[in-house]
Amino acid sequence: MPLLAIKNLSVSFLTSTGPFMAVNGIDITVDAREVLAIVGESGSGKSVSMLAVMGLLPDSATVKADSMVFDGIDLLRLEPKERRRIIGRDVAMIFQEPMASLNPCFTVGFQIEEVLRVHMNMDRSQRRKRAIELLTAVGIPDPADRLKSYPHQMSGGQCQRVMIAIAIACNPKLLIADEPTTALDVTIQKQILDLLVGLQQEHGMGMIMITHNMGVVAETADRVVVQYKGRKMEEADVLSLFENPQSNYTKALLAALPENATGDRLPTVGDYQMEVEDSTAVKTPPLEAPL
C-alpha cells in the first residue's frame, strides 16, 4: 500500500475572471522510503497540489479529489482538528524561503520546541534535549548555544537546516520539500540535498521533492512526475525519464538545460509541439500576460 495516494486531485481558485484551475485531475502516489520529484515551471500547480495535501490553501481555493489517502486515512474526510494532528507530525513540509518561513520574533530553539510541545507528549527538559539532538542531526555546530539564536543571526543555509530540523522533529512518515534549495548557493544546495537524502534514508521516510531544477531531480529522485499547466505530463522512474523522455514537454525541458546545448541556440519549450494545448479545451481563463 502506498504511503500517500491521491486520486484525481483538482484545485481551483476563485478569481475576478472566474474559477482558475491550478491543478487539473492529478494522481500522485508515494511509497514509504521513496523519493518522488515533482517537476514543472512556475504556475504548473506543483506547489499547490502539495499545499492541498497539507491543507494550507486559502479559503479562495476549492480542493476536489476522489480520494487523498495518507497511511490508510482519507485526509479529505477528517475533521479539521483530527487532520491537524496528522499534519506537522506525520506529514511535514519545508518551504522555499528559509528566512521567510521562520518567525523572526522567536529564537530557533523556541520554534523547534513548539512543534514538540504541540505534537509530542514531552516535558520541558525532554523537549530541550530533543531540540539539541535535532540541530546536531541537521549539522549545526554548537547546537546548545544555537538554540538561543534568532533567525536573522543565521545564514540562509543554516536557516534551511533549522527548517529541516523542525520538519523532522516528530519523525514524520512523509516529508514534502517545496524547492528547498532554490534560494541557496550551489555549494550550500549540495549540502542541503545530501542532508535531506541522508535523513530520508536513515529514517525511512517518504519524500516529495518539488523543484524546477532538473539537476536537483537527477541528484535526488527515485521517481519523477512532470507537471505542466496543472496536468500531469509524464511519470517515470528517474533513469528512464532522462534516458527516454516520452512527452514533448519533458523533452523540451531537458533540451533547455544549458549543459545539453548542442548548437549556438538553446531549444525552448515553444519549439516543441505541446500536446497539452489540445487537451485543455477545458475552461482555463486567459491569463493577463500570455507568455
Binding site: V186, G215, E219, P258, R265, A289
Partner: protein, 277 residues
C-alpha cells in the same frame, strides 16, 4: 581586430561599517584587488557564492559605486567617478540588468516610459523619437507594440527580464553588465532569455560581463571565466581552460557541488542506492 572595451586593474573596494552601541566600527573588504579585461563582443562570466563581492564588482563596473583604489578603463578611457563624477556620456556606454525583474521595474511606470527614460535623462532626443525607438526596441526583445502601454505587473518574469534588457539597450551601450539575469527564471524561460542575449550580442557587438552562480549557464554563455572567493579572483582564464582544469580548490568544490543531470551519473547514483538498500 580586437578592441578592449573594459579593463580593470587591481580594483579594491572597502565598506566602512559604523559601530553601534555594542559593536566597534570595522571595515569590510568586499573586493580585494581584482584585475581583468574584456574584448569587444566577448562575454566574461564572474562566478562565486553570495557575499564573495561579485555584485560589488558589478556596481563598480556599472559606475554606481567608486572603487576605493585601482583603476578602471572603459572603451580606452580612464574613468574615476569619485574624482570627476559620472557624465551622461559614460552612462551611455555602460548599462546593467539586475537579478530580480520584479524589483527592478517601477510598478507605476508604463513600459513605454520605462524604455524612454534612459533617453530622456541622458540625451536630448525629442519625445516622438523616444517613442519610436522604444517601440523598435520592444520588438527587438520579442515583445510587441500592444505591450507599450502596459504596466510591469501585467507581465511574467521572463517578459519583465526582456523589458529590463530592452531598457539597458536603449542607449546603445558598449558594455552590458548582467547581474544574475536568469537565476530568478524557470528553466524554459531561462533558455529564451539566454538566446535573446546571444542574438543581441551578435547584432550589436555587445560586450557582456555576466555574473552568475550557475556553472551550466556560464559554460554555455561565457568566453572567459573568473571565479571569485572572498573578494579575490581565485581563477581567471578562458572558459575551456577553467572548465577543463580548475586549479583552485574553491573552483573544484564548486564543480563538485553542481548537480549533474547526465544519464551516466544518474545511473551511478541509482546503482549505488540499490546497493545500499
Amino acid at each position: 581586430m580586437s578592441e578592449t572595451v573594459l579593463s580593470v586593474q587591481n580594483i579594491k573596494r572597502d565598506y566602512h561599517v559604523s559601530g553601534g552601541l555594542f559593536s566597534k566600527a570595522r571595515t569590510v573588504h568586499a573586493v580585494k584587488g581584482v584585475s581583468f579585461s574584456v574584448e569587444k563582443g566577448k562575454t566574461l562570466a564572474i562566478v562565486g557564492e553570495s557575499g564573495c563581492g561579485k555584485s560589488t564588482l558589478a556596481r563598480i563596473i556599472t559606475l554606481i559605486d567608486a572603487p576605493t583604489s585601482g583603476s578602471l578603463q572603459i572603451d580606452g578611457q580612464t574613468v574615476d567617478i569619485a574624482q570627476n563624477g559620472l557624465t551622461s556620456d559614460l552612462r551611455r556606454k555602460v548599462q546593467i540588468v539586475f537579478q530580480n525583474p520584479y524589483g527592478s521595474l517601477n510598478p507605476r511606470q508604463k513600459i513605454g516610459d520605462v524604455l524612454g527614460e534612459p533617453l530622456k535623462i541622458n540625451t536630448d532626443t525629442p519625445a516622438s523619437e523616444r517613442r519610436d525607438r522604444a517601440m523598435a526596441m520592444l520588438k527587438k526583445v520579442g515583445l510587441s507594440e500592444e505591450h507599450f502601454n502596459r504596466y510591469p505587473h501585467m507581465f511574467s518574469g521572463g517578459q519583465r527580464q526582456r523589458i529590463a534588457i530592452a531598457r539597458a539597450l536603449m542607449l546603445n551601450p558598449k558594455l552590458l553588465v548582467l547581474d544574475e539575469p536568469v537565476s530568478a527564471l524557470d528553466l524554459s524561460v531561462q533558455a529564451q532569455v539566454l538566446n535573446l542575449l546571444a542574438d543581441l550580442q551578435d547584432e550589436f557587438q555587445l560586450t557582456y560581463v555576466f555574473i552568475s552562480h550557475d556553472l551550466s549557464v556560464v559554460r554555455y554563455i561565457a568566453d572567459e571565466v573568473m571565479v571569485m572567493y572572498f573578494g579575490e579572483a581565485v581563477e581567471y582564464g578562458t572558459r575551456d581552460e577553467v572548465f577543463a582544469n580548475p586549479k583552485h580548490s574553491y573552483t573544484q568544490t564548486l564543480f563538485a557541488a553542481t548537480p549533474r543531470a547526465d544519464v551516466e551519473s544518474i545511473r551511478a547514483r541509482v546503482a549505488k542506492k540499490r546497493a545500499a538498500a
